[in-house]
Amino acid sequence: MYAYTETDRRIVAERVIQYRDQTRRHLASELSADQFRPLRLQNGLYVEKHNPMLRIAIPYGQLSAPQLRLLAHVARSYDRGVGHFTTRHNFQLNWVRLGQVPDILAELAQVDMHAIQSSGSCIRVVTTDPLAGVSPVEVADPRPWAEIFRQWSTLHPEFAALPRKFKVAFSGGPDDAASVRTHDLGFEMVRDAAGDVGFRVWVGGGLGRTPILAQVVREFLPWTDLLSYAEAILRVYNLAGRRDNLYKSRIKILVQSLGIKAFAQRAEAEWQHLKDGPLTLIAAEVARIADQFAAPDYETLTDLDARFEFMRRFDREFAAWVKTNTHAHRQPGYVAVTLSLKAPGQAPGDATAEQLDAVAELAERYGFGELRTAQTQNLILPDVRKRDLYNLWQETRKEQLATASVGLLTDIVACPGGDLCSLANARSLPLAAAIQQRFGDRGELVDIGALRLNISGCVNACGHHHIGAIGILGVDKNGEERFQITLGGATGPGAAIGDVIGPSFPAAEVPETVARIVDHYRACRRPKEGFIDTVRRIGTKSFAAAAYAQEISIIEDEREVANG
C-alpha cells in the first residue's frame, strides 16, 4: 500500500488549514453561501435534506486497518456511529456539523486521509478494481497508475473549475471490473506486441440523466504518456465543454456532439504540444510507486487446503458463503473475501463504528492489515488463507458481515435516497429492504443466480440503476413516490444501459413486480443461462408483459416519457 511521503502529508495538512479558514470565513459571513458552496463541495461537504454530509475519499479503494479505525472513530465522535460506503470508493458521514468538519479533516489527516475533490466540478476520486493486485485475470496491477494519477489530479491548478464533475477509473484488464465504460475517462491496462504495459483509453462514458457508454479514444497509450495525454483530454474538455447548461456539461456530451473521431483529433492535436514534456513519466518514479504495491509476504501454500475442503463439505452454510463471498486469488492457497454490508435490515453500504473496528482487526489477523472498498458497496479482505476461512466466516457472522449474497439479487446497490438526500425523488432504502425481504428464501435466491439489482432515488443515478440487470429509478409523479424499472443493464466488457420497460410503479408494488420479472426469467431460461443473457435473448418486451401482467398495448403510450 502506498505510504505517504512528507510532501503528500504537507499538501493534505495545508488543505485542512485552508479549509478551516474557509469555514471560519463562511461562519463569519465573510464568504456567502454561494461563494462557499464550490469550496466545500471540492472538500466533499454537501448540505443535505436534514444535515450536511461529508464524503471522505478512499482513493482507488485501498484502506489500512488504522485508517478504518479512524473512520470508526470519526463516525462515533462526529456522527451517529454509522457511515456509508458508496459505489465510488468514498465513505460518507450523514450527520456531521458544518463547524466540526475542519476537526474531522484534521483527524483524517493523521492517517493520510482527506476529502479532497470527493465532490464538485473537478477531477474526482480515482477508482479501480477492488481485486487489483490479487486478480488472476488482470494484465497488470492498476494501483500504481491510479496513485500516480491521484497525485497529478490532486489540486491540479488548471482543472480546478471544470464544466462539471470528472470521474476517472483504471481497470487492470479486459474484465473491466472498474467499469471504464461508464466513466468520463477510463484507462484499461493492456500490453503491446512487445509486452510493454500501456492503456486503452476510453472517454465520454457516464450515467446520470443521460447515460452513455464510453468510446475508445486511443487504442494504445504507452505508460510514459499517461499524464501528458490526460492533461490534453482535460484541457480540451475544460475549454470546449459546455458551461451554459448543467445537464449538458459532462464530457460525454462534448464527445457526442463532436463525434469520437473529431474529439480524438482535438485531443491528439493538443497532446502533440504536451507529449515528451515534463509530464512524461520516468521509470524510477513508477518503480518507487509500484514497489509499494508489491505483493505482501505470502506463505507458500498448496491451493488445496484439507481443513477448508473438509469444512466446506461439512457445513452447507459455510459452503454457500464461500461460493458467493470469496474470489479467486493469484496466490495458491489464498482467496479474497467480500465482507457483505447487505445484511437484512441494514442500508446497503452502511457500516457501524463497531463493525468498522471489527473489520480492522480481522484485516490484521487474517490478512496484511489491508482492505478494499468495492463498487458494490461492500468491503473486501484481499489476502485470506483458505485455511483461515472457516474461522473468519464465524467471526464475520457475529458482526453481521457474512450475508452470503455477493452477486445475487439481494446484494442490492442503492443510493441513500430520499431519507437523506435532497436531490432524491424517492426513498431507496425502504425499497431495498422490502426487496431483500421478498427474496429471503435462500433456495429461490440461489436458483435465480447472478443478478445485479441497483436502485437510484433520482435521475442523478448514484445507485447506478442504468447498469443493473434490474435497475430501479425513483421518480416523482405529481408528488407521489414511484419507481421505474429498467432491464438489461450491465458493466464490464458487455456493458449496456438498461431499457425502461414501461410506466412507473408505486413503491409497494415493486417487490412483487421484480418477482414476476424473475419468475419470467426462470420460466424462459435455457440451461445455465444467466438472467442478463435471457433478457438479451428474448428481449425486454417479453419481460415487460410479465412485469405488468397485462396487455402491453397499455404500456406503449407512456414509454416515450421514460428516461426523459
Binding site: S121, L155, H156, P157, A161, P278
Partner: protein, 177 residues
C-alpha cells in the same frame, strides 16, 4: 483608483478597462488618456493606430493591454505579445475555469512573459490556482486580506508556470532515471 495584487504586492491599478457597448463598433469606441485594457475586438480592429498612439504618448502613459473573454482563443494574440504590456483574462464567475487553460497556453505555449491579469469574478480562495497557471496580477476586492491566500500551499505535484517540473522530477529520482 482601485488596488490590485501584482507580483505579491498591492499596487495602484492605473489602467482603464474598456468594455464595448452593443451599439458602438470596435472602430469607434473612444479611448481615454492613459493605460488602456482593451477588448480583443478593439485591438484587432485598430492594432496599428493603437501602436502609433503608444509611440506618440509623451510620458509613456499610454500603454496597451488586451483582455480576453473565456471563449476567446489566446492563439489570436500569439503574434502580438511584444506590443502588449498586459493581457487580462476575464472570469465571468469563479467557477468558470476556462481562463486557467487560457493562462497556461499564453505562458507555456506562446511564451508570454509580461503581466497576466485575472479580472472579473476573482476570489481569494482561487488565487493559489490562478498564480500557478501564470497569473501574476489580480483585480480583487479587499486585496490586503486576499494576499494571505497566495501562500495556501507550499508544494504541488503538477508542473505549471510557477514550477515547470512535476514533483517526481524534482526529487533525487529524476537524476537516476
Amino acid at each position: 483608483m482601485a488596488n490590485l495584487i501584482k507580483n505579491g504586492d498591492i499596487v495602484a491599478n492605473d489602467w482603464t478597462t474598456i468594455t464595448l457597448d452593443a451599439e458602438v463598433s470596435p472602430g469607434d469606441v473612444k479611448l481615454p488618456y492613459g493605460n488602456v485594457l482593451l477588448p480583443l475586438a478593439v485591438w484587432q480592429a485598430r492594432k496599428w493606430d493603437l501602436i502609433q498612439r503608444q509611440w506618440h504618448s509623451l510620458d509613456g502613459g499610454g500603454k496597451l493591454g488586451v483582455w480576453l473573454s473565456p471563449d476567446e482563443d489566446p492563439a489570436v494574440l500569439a503574434e502580438d505579445l511584444q506590443d502588449l504590456d498586459v493581457i487580462a483574462v476575464r472570469f465571468p464567475a469563479a467557477g468558470d475555469g476556462r481562463g486557467y487553460s487560457i493562462a497556461s497556453l499564453l505562458r507555456i505555449r506562446y511564451g508570454y512573459k509580461r503581466e497576466l491579469r485575472a479580472i472579473g469574478t476573482v476570489e481569494r480562495d482561487y488565487l493559489h490556482f490562478l498564480h500557478r497557471v501564470g497569473f501574476n496580477a489580480f483585480e480583487i476586492e479587499n486585496p490586503e486580506a486576499a494576499l494571505a491566500s497566495l501562500g495556501d500551499f507550499s508544494e504541488a505535484y503538477q508542473p505549471a508556470v510557477d514550477q515547470p517540473l512535476p514533483l517526481f522530477r524534482r526529487s533525487g529520482l529524476a537524476l537516476a532515471a
